[in-house]
Amino acid sequence: MIAQSPDHGGSGGRSALPAGRPDRLRGQQGSLERLPDGLSGQRDFPGGPDFLVTVPTRGDGRDPLRRDRGDWQPGTRRPLPSLVTDLRPGAFGPYDHLAHIGRAAETATVGGALVPFDPGGEESLVVAAGLLRHSRHLRVVAGFHPGIATPVYAAKFSASLQRFTGNRLGWQLEVDLDPAVARSQGDFLQGADRYARAEEFLTVAKGVWHEESYTYEGRFYQVLAGGFQSPNSGLPFPRVHLTGTSPEALALSARHADVHLFTADEDVAAGVAELEGRAAQEGRRVAYGLRFPVLARDDDDEAWEEARRLWVLAGGEADGLPDPDPRTGLWRGFGRITDSIPLGRAGSYATASPGLVGSYETVAAGIRAYLDQGVTTFVLEARPAIEETYRLGERLLPLFGKEIEHAH
């Protein structure tokens, strides 16, 4: 969403970065160069916040009890009365709605969209390919786990998408799956072995991507005389997003993540400090991100009124509405209102993380608190996806205009 302008060199500009930000972020400022039209997808972020929205891949609806958009619960969509002409039947499918979400994010100047791995939802790479094809600027991060394919194949698939879309694809590799979910996907690996495999997966994927004659012999994968040729060589590798706070997860991120995504119920400050050190030892830089739900309205009262309405709709007691954390402002009630329907045998994959409720200014202040801790990527969740994405683009994102402008 960051406006790219060749007229703002950045190098001489006053930094808007909070004093506490790690120095490595300053180094990224002004590193952007003007790319030819249509090829501007892959970029180093110039230091301002980067916003993504979360694509609901198991239906979407006006409120938490409804997933009637995207043909997820056939028959739940309220029909028009017969006296009203309805030209829709047969003309629309589930992917019309998903495509609309991507268009809305693009129109609302949001920088990207996360299509999460969800064994109970649509397949993320197929969704991501469609969103990328039907947008010009949107960066799309597809979530998947290393068991879905060989690393060579995952890289090959991605090289095509990078070429098709001006290098706008990102990966979110899910390593720490629930064991029952993993087994349902054919993956019986457990514990630290999963991180060992993820390490090999990323090593091999990057190896065939960057080297013309690549051979690898590991515990999990082998390649002989592999490596992509032109035009599938020389492309930017998809931006790698990783998660988790275990030592294995942070070690993997230090070596392979471009962005490490936290959730709001994790100790972000400690995670950033730990990963900062580990990444430095590897001679790398990692950007930090946060995935959380938001409910923002004109003023705090209106936001809380809506939170209460959704809470009750989702089956919560009217007088049992949880209070936000007095220190951080994070509200735990999202666990109910974003994720109140048990869907699919795999359980739910919404984050159910605490999030921010309040006026646009209140939510922006909550986000700034994370910016001060070095977090630059914000993956927001809000439903219904299209209306809320427009709202965020028009009302929340402009509050960061100062950071964005000064970042150039």
Binding site: G93, E123, V127, V152, F164, Q222, V223, G226
Partner: protein, 387 residues
């Protein structure tokens, strides 16, 4: 029974004709003025990519009468799944025939991608399952499973894919795959299962095809050899109570007159590397078969015409399969009718350049097909769908 006729979408660039083996569509050659997708505009790449050209080929062949397009998969091509997912919403009736090797994707993931694609396209996914030629090609992909084992793996792969397709919970424990409590989530379950076109000329392939193929797919070969190959597959299938249909991939060079068609070949032939005329190496059984129908080395392009209009030199002008049809519109239609007569139920046709030739073949050749009458009178005809 109607005949399904597919076109091919070239997934690694295209050349402007068979006269010169030089790619100008896609980035497989340097991007210079005259290149398309990406093109050059004001001295810079114009932001279009090869998928925009593939979309044009899909729309051209859709509107000129083909039911869909085959998307081949090799180390140097674009990926057919990625291409289909990108193009899903840009055609209306067009089927995407995705070529893939089962070993590279996990079958649960393949089921998830397929079901999502079925939802995205309204059920327009078709599989071309290839189990791979072996040798260095497989190691490039990081696949070390042996040739015959790959067909065993393909069988397991399809067992798991079909097992999760209609929901679950599905458990499986095989040599290559193991799942527990698997199954597609409700809205993805019970999509129409993609038709399976199964390729492979080896004994292991033919046995696996008997079990899994809706269509047994072969490159074009001289008609008697092709009929014999089909008979072998039919025999294997009948033994296990199945009756696959038959499909053939054919490169086509058709013109108003036979002379004009051969003249195109002659112009392309002038640029063929003489070293290639001694015969070409390859490690798949299908390729060795196709080379055995010709006495190499050859000196003149007409020596590769093994029977009227059946020409074995297409690989020299473009790469890919060797055999195709060269002739007038009428002759090519007659040969296709003859193939229908020996039991062919579906074709994957292709011509270079794929965009323009889709219109030509769709408008000039397909309307001449009479197939059904010939099949009834043919001594080689078989009873269809009664087994």
């Amino acid at each position: 029974m109607p005949i399904d006729i597919y076109w091919r979408i070239a997934t690694h660039g295209d050349q402007q004709s068979l006269r010169r083996r030089a790619s100008s569509r896609g980035e497989w050659a340097p991007v210079v003025p005259g290149s398309l997708t990406p093109g050059v505009r004001d001295g810079r790449r114009d932001g279009y990519s090869y998928v925009d050209h593939m979309a044009d080929v899909a729309r051209a062949s859709e509107s000129s009468g083909f039911v869909g397009g085959l998307l081949p998969s090799f180390p140097f091509t674009d990926d057919p799944w990625a291409t289909s997912a990108a193009l899903a919403r840009e055609t209306t009736t067009y089927r995407f025939m995705i070529a893939y090797q089962p070993g590279f994707l996990h079958p649960v993931q393949a089921a998830r991608m397929s079901a999502s694609l079925q939802r995205a396209t309204g059920g327009r996914v078709v599989y071309n399952i290839i189990s791979g030629g072996g040798g260095p090609g497989q190691l490039w992909w990081g696949d070390r499973v042996d040739h015959d084992d790959r067909y065993a793996r393909t069988s397991e792969f399809l067992d798991v894919l079909k097992g999760v397709w209609n929901g679950g919970p599905f458990d499986y424990e095989g040599r290559f795959y193991r799942v527990e409590g698997a199954g597609l989530p409700e809205p993805l379950a019970r999509q129409p299962f993609p038709e399976i076109y199964f390729s492979g000329s080896s004994k292991a392939a033919i046995e696996a095809a008997g079990r899994h193929a809706d269509y047994y797919l072969s490159w074009l070969e001289p008609f008697p050899e092709l009929a014999a190959k089909f008979a072998q597959v039919r025999e294997h299938s009948t033994a296990i109570g199945r009756a696959p249909k038959f499909a053939v991939r054919i490169d086509v060079l058709a013109r108003e007159t036979e002379e004009a068609a051969w003249d195109e070949i002659r112009r392309g032939w002038a640029h063929v590397d003489p070293a290639a005329l001694r015969g070409a190496d390859g490690d798949s059984v299908g390729w060795l078969r196709s080379q055995s129908f010709v006495s190499w080395p050859v000196r003149d392009f007409r020596e590769l015409e093994v029977s009227p209009n059946v020409w074995g030199g297409f690989h020299l002008l473009r790469g890919g399969p060797a055999f195709g049809l060269v002739g007038s519109y009428q002759q090519v239609a007659e040969r296709l009718d003859e193939l229908i007569g020996i039991g062919v139920d579906a074709f994957i046709l292709a011509g270079v350049p794929h965009l323009e030739e889709a219109y030509r073949v769709g408008e000039e050749v397909l309307p001449l097909l009479r197939g059904h009458d010939i099949r009834q009178n043919s001594p080689l005809s078989v009873s269809k769908g009664s087994i």
